[in-house]
Structures are given as structure tokens and as C-alpha cells.
Amino acid sequence: MSENRPILKMTGIHKRFPGVHALNGVDFRMFAGEVHALMGENGAGKSTLIKVLTGVYPIDGGEVEWEGRPFHPRSPLEAQQAGISTVYQEIHLCPNLSVAENIFIGREPRKFGRISWRAMNRAAEALLAERLNVKLDVTRPLGSFSIAVQQLVAIARALNISARLLILDEPTSSLDRDEVNRLFAIMRHLKRQGLAILFVTHFLDQVYEVSDRITILRNGRFIGEYPTRELPRVELVQKMIGKDLDLLGSLPKRTPPSAGGERPFLQAAGLGRKGGVEPFDLAIGSGEIVGLAGLLGSGRTETARLLFGADRADQGKCFVEGREAKLDSPRKAIDRGIAFCSENRKAEGIIEDLTVRENIILALQAHRGWFRALSRRRQEEIADEYIRALDIRPADPEQLIRNLSGGNQQKVILARWLLMNPRLLILDEPTRGIDVGAKAEIQRLVLSLSEKGMAVLFISSELEEVIRVSSRVAVLRDRRHVRHLAGVEIRQSAIMQAIAGG
């Protein structure tokens, strides 16, 4: 690629939110006619960078130059008018309107003030054929097409508003292989027409398949910009995940559990769900901590949700203590002694309107039913006990949970499930977004629980953490369980190799 002038140049970008330095001196540039992959794990600052670029947030520091001029959009609309359009994973179009309308609404061709449908449909057909090389019945409502086609329509709309930079945010996460191929063909086609495409994805294979250049962010910092073919996969993964060795020094060395022999507490055989995670085998024994490692979007959460019955599996079987169990609702999983702390604490964990005490006893009470209510005194005893045991602060059971910090909310959710005395505890990112001290506490707690015989499925984006607590690790890539590691095999390099694949 010729090093001519970039059309977009961002230098030293800073963005702070209360308590977070989301972008810390990030540099980013793009050239016309390239596909540029923006890579980074959770909290790396990818989405903040995109939002800053498209005018959702103002920047706190740094400079943005777009087509040679300083650029400070105040809204996505302004960015759009300047030629920067975003197509999100969730389609932001109107499913009830026709394809042609979705492309042209707000700019419909008019004759004597009257919308000319014929001109609009013809223009839409021409646009789709010329720029995207697809043929559609543009009069049908958008909602009657697949997500893949809807995405193409969103791209067509962006192109029609004379986009010179197209941001594709996780465009492939709901597409099947053929649809991805078609999208990539279109991306190459557009690239040849001189469009700059910023491509955000979790899928490493796709990055290497379609992108020309990669920018890596980690923890809000700029790690580097590389031509794709000069950056080996393992190196990419390493740069994305980084090393965070400092904070866990005090963790006790875990004794390897008595390997094998016993019947596992839970066993999944060919369990899978279309669009979630491909069929996998997994066994978790009592007293064992199994870690799930993989990048964001690799199918970790989907695995956990299947095992808890939060999503229904459409193939495969699940066995609990040797007997087949149909885990098609959380209730059934709870009845079998399974507990699940969701990674999405706010949306799927805490009940904001309730107090700490109520949040703690919620699952136990739901298990007992309405009428066998725990007495107020018993509730208070339980709450006090767990507040003390997990050092929840403030130590006030009547505090509304929304007033607690993230780490303390996480502990309350943990308390909710520990109270159930589960046989298997599934923890999805239990330490995300909480401070270092609380992190170490939670890790220590997990270890002590497993020593007492609890089975634990531990999911984390931080490899160090997974390695430290797990006795076995299942590695996921692109929604597949690609490798299982045990004992001495559990090393950072081996896991990274597996994650990188290829």
C-alpha cells in the first residue's frame, strides 16, 4: 500500500469517564482504499474510539484530522454528513419500511413535493447493483430479509450518504459462513472503489482474511499499528491480552485436584446452539475448577448460558451426576444445584430496586416459593453472615444495591448463589470492572470453594487469572471449543496458540 496522505488522522486522543480513562493517548489513522481492523479486548477502548470518531462523545484531548481538516463532529448525524458512516451489528434501520425507503428515507426523491416511489425504487436497485453487486426486491419490507441482507442495506444507505469512511462494527457476528464470504467480497469491491473501511470483529480468522492493516488497543492505550501480513497471529493475541502479572502475587499455589477416576458432576455431550456455540463436549468434576479461555465473542458466555438453561440447546445432551438432565430453564438448572453469575451484572444480575439483603436471598427464596418465606430475622442473619464473609461494603443490608460499587455488587450476586450451596458454580467474568483488591479476594474465594468440593466453571478474559485458578482449561475460538488443556499443559503460550489458531 502506498503511504500517501491518510484521510483520517487521530493523534493523542484522550477520553475520560468518571473513574475510567477510556482512551489514553490513542493514535489512529486510516487511508482511502484499505480495510483496517481495530482490535482489542473488553475495555480496550475500541467502542469509545468509534464513538469519539462518530461524534457520540466529544474528546477530552488530542487532535482529529479528517480529509486534511480538523474535525469535531457533535453528533453521529454530523459525522455522517461529513462522510463517516457506521453500520452496527444490531441493524439501526426500520424493519417495517421497504428496502428502498430504508436507503433513502429523509432524502427521498420528490416530484412536486410528492415522493416518487418509482424513482426511489429504481435508484435503490441501481445503487445495490452498482456498488454492492446484489439484486434485491427493494419494495419488500426490510424485516422480511435476513440480518445479512439488512446489513447490506445499511451499507447501501451509508454509501448513498456519500460515505468515504465506513465503520463496520461486529458485522459478522450474526452471519453464517456464506454470508460472511459475500460480505467480504463486497468489502473488497468497495475497497477497490476507494472506500476506507474500519472493521471491528472478534474473529481472528476474518481479520487475516480481509484486513490490510491492524491497530491494537489495550486498556485504553495505543499498542501499535501493523500491516496485517507482517503480524503473526500469536503476536496479535499477545498484544491484545497483554500481561498483568503484578496483582496476583499473593495467591496461594493451588494443589492439583485428584485427577480423573470420579464421575464428573456435569457432563455436556455435543451440546450446542445455532448462532451461539458449536457443539462441544465438556466435563466438570466436583472440586474442580474448569476455566474457559478465549477472546470476547468466542462462545464462552454462550457455553455458560447453555449449561445453566438460560438459552435452550438445540442439539446435544447434558448429564448431571451421570443422569441425563434437560436444562431448558434456569429453574431446572438451579434445582440440579447449578448457579450462574452473569457477566452482565447490571442487566442480568442485580435487581437495582431491591436492597442488598433482598438481592442476597432472592434465589433461595425463589427456590422455596412464595409462601415458605424466610423470616425477616433469618433474612437478616443470612445477609449479615455473607456481608461479613465476603466483606461487602457498606456493610448495610438495607442499602439499595444500586448504591454499591461494581465489586461489591458482584459480591452480593456471589452471595446470592453461595447461599444456594450449589454443586456447580458458573462464574462469567466475575472480576470484570472491579478493583484489584476485590479481584484477588474473589479469586481466593473461588479456590477455597473448590477445595470444599464445589465444581466451578470460571470464565475470564484475563488469561493470567484463568491460568492461576483453573485445573483444566477449555479454549474457545470463533464459537468452537478448540482445545482442552490440563495440568502442566496450562501455559500462557499454549493457550494463546490455541486462541490464535490458524
Binding site: H92, L93, L97, G106, I115, I147, Q150
Partner: protein, 322 residues
């Protein structure tokens, strides 16, 4: 093969034809143009109000204030003409302006303060109804020559049947609304907002203006419906058109418009109103059946159409995910 999006509309039209034929087979004298025209004459004001309601529901909202707005219009017209001695040429534009700005204000509150339309228009309903009583608690009859002329005017049609002025106005409103809905940006933006408001914002559509216009249009239609109702009743009264909002909503839903917004047609509403009229006419012809059967049948139809919509939306959602 008919486009799937027209199915609810076709169901509605089919239902109307079926009911009209059933009535014609059962009762002598039912099958005549005048019976059909009477459907329009008796429901002209409802048709006008329901057209405004269609836009509101298409945008994903609801307007409970329409019945009260009709009453307030009759009351304002009656008192200004009979008590203040204003000429109709001044009164009619004034009441239309009052209705429009009333709706516009509700739209502004709904949009800017993000309060549910249900609640805001509920307050509007109370307010308009209460204002009627501020004017007067009793009926005010109108005997202004212009109004009586309007009330009695019959427009002869070829074939011997006739319609009223109100019908002409209502049909004009329907035509205007069809044009607005399908050939103007305002109409298309309304559909877009009903389909997905957040998408409409992100697509850069004028959501705030459109929403306020939608409620303003509904207010205008209510006021115009009130004017027609005044021609029809020749009086102003605070208890006029009680519960009209429910009839209008029912007409819109039976007309095949999705209560969650984004899908439906003005023509559907036209037939929704006619279906309600036919039910009433059949009950009148039957003689032994009482008026409450209307409500039960309308309730039943509401149930069926809501269920139909539920199945319909569930299927399109599934179709999309695969």
C-alpha cells in the same frame, strides 16, 4: 401471490364485505346504497377522529384525548356562536387551531420529557373534558342558520342515495391522510418512528418534529371531527363523545394497524370504522339484539386482530432470525 404486508388489510376488507353480505342475506332492505351511505353519515366524525388516531398509533403512540377534544370543540363552537355571537367563519378556524395546538403541546411533552403517551394524553383527556364544564355544565343547542343548513344539507348521488356534508369532509380527510401517509416525508417518518424510534434518530430523521406533528394532526382531526359532530348533533355538551377514543382505537386496530406502531394503512381504518357501523346496523335491523352486543363483538374483533398481529409479528421476527 399477495404481499404479506397487505394481509391484515385484506382480512379487514374481507370481513367488512362478509358482514355486509350477511346482513343483506338476512334482512330485506339491507342491501342498498343508502344503508351503506348511512354507515358513512352516522360515522363521519368517528372516521375523521380515527384517521388522526391512525397516525398516532402508526408512530407507536396513543391518543386518549380525542373524545374529550371532540366534546370541547362542540362546546367551544356552541358557546362562541350562541353566547358570544361569533360568526362560524371565525369559530371553525379557531376551534381547529385550538385542537391542533392542544395536540402539538401533548406531543411536545411526550417527546421532550419522555413521558408515556398514555399518561400525557390521559391528562389531556381530563383537561379537555374539564374545560367543557368550565364553559358550561349544560347542553347548548345551536340554531345558527349556517349550522342548521350544514346539518340538513343532503348531497344527492346518482342512484337516488344521498350523503351529508360531514361525509364529504370525512372522505376528503381520508384522501388527504392517504396522501400524507404515503407520499410525504412526514408520513414516511411517522412509519419509521413506529418501526423503530431509536433507528429513526440514528438515521437522522426529524423525530421530535414528526412526533409533535403527529399529535398535532390527531388534535386537528379531533377538532374537525368535533366540527362535523356539531353539524350532526347541533349542540355543544360536555358529555358528547364519551368513550369515543376507544371506538377510534378499536377502528384503527380492526383496520389492521399494529398497536405497537409502524404498520398499517389509513384505508384499513376506513374499513375498521365501517365494520363498527355494520355491526350497529345489523343490530338495529335485528331488532331483538341490544346495543351492548356491539361492544362485545368489537371486543371480540379486537381480540382476534391483536392475536393475529401477535402471530404475525412473531413470525416475521422468527423469519428474520433464521
Amino acid at each position: 401471490m399477495v404481499d404479506r404486508k397487505y394481509i391484515p388489510l385484506l382480512v379487514t376488507i374481507g370481513l367488512f364485505i362478509l358482514m355486509f353480505l350477511a346482513g343483506s342475506l338476512r334482512y330485506p332492505g339491507f342491501l342498498s346504497t343508502q344503508v351503506f351511505m348511512n354507515l358513512l353519515i352516522d360515522n363521519a366524525f368517528l372516521l375523521i377522529v380515527a384517521v388522526g388516531m391512525t397516525f398516532v398509533i402508526l408512530s407507536g403512540g396513543i391518543d386518549l384525548s380525542v373524545g374529550s377534544m371532540v366534546a370541547l370543540t362542540t362546546m367551544l363552537s356552541a358557546s362562541l356562536i350562541m353566547q358570544a355571537g361569533w360568526p362560524p367563519a371565525a369559530v371553525i378556524p379557531l376551534v381547529l387551531a385550538v385542537g391542533t395546538s392542544f395536540g402539538w403541546m401533548m406531543g411536545a411533552i411526550i417527546h421532550y420529557f419522555q413521558i408515556q403517551p398514555f399518561i400525557v394524553t390521559l391528562a389531556g383527556m381530563f383537561l379537555a373534558r374539564g374545560l367543557c364544564y368550565v364553559i358550561s355544565i349544560d347542553t347548548i343547542s345551536i340554531n345558527h342558520p349556517f349550522y342548521t343548513k350544514m346539518a340538513l344539507a343532503k348531497i344527492r348521488l346518482p342512484g337516488g342515495s344521498f350523503i351529508s356534508i360531514g361525509v364529504v369532509i370525512a372522505l376528503l380527510v381520508v384522501l388527504l391522510a392517504v396522501y400524507l401517509a404515503h407520499y410525504t416525508r412526514f408520513g414516511r417518518n411517522t412509519y419509521a418512528i413506529g418501526g423503530s424510534e431509536s433507528s429513526a434518530v440514528l438515521m437522522g430523521l426529524p423525530v421530535a418534529r414528526t412526533k409533535m406533528l403527529v399529535y398535532a394532526f390527531s388534535g386537528f382531526c379531533s377538532a374537525l371531527g368535533g366540527v362535523v359532530f356539531t353539524f350532526y348533533m347541533l349542540s355543544g355538551y360536555g358529555l358528547h363523545a364519551v368513550g369515543l377514543e376507544l371506538d377510534a382505537i378499536a377502528a384503527v386496530v380492526i383496520g389492521g394497524t399494529l398497536l405497537t406502531g409502524g404498520s398499517g394503512y389509513v384505508i384499513g381504518t376506513f374499513f375498521g370504522v365501517l365494520i363498527q357501523g355494520v355491526i350497529q346496523t345489523i343490530i338495529t335491523f335485528e331488532g331483538t339484539l341490544s346495543s351492548w352486543w356491539t361492544k362485545m363483538v368489537i371486543g371480540l374483533l379486537l381480540f382476534l386482530f391483536i392475536l393475529l398481529q401477535r402471530v404475525f409479528t412473531a413470525r416475521t421476527a422468527r423469519g428474520r432470525s433464521v
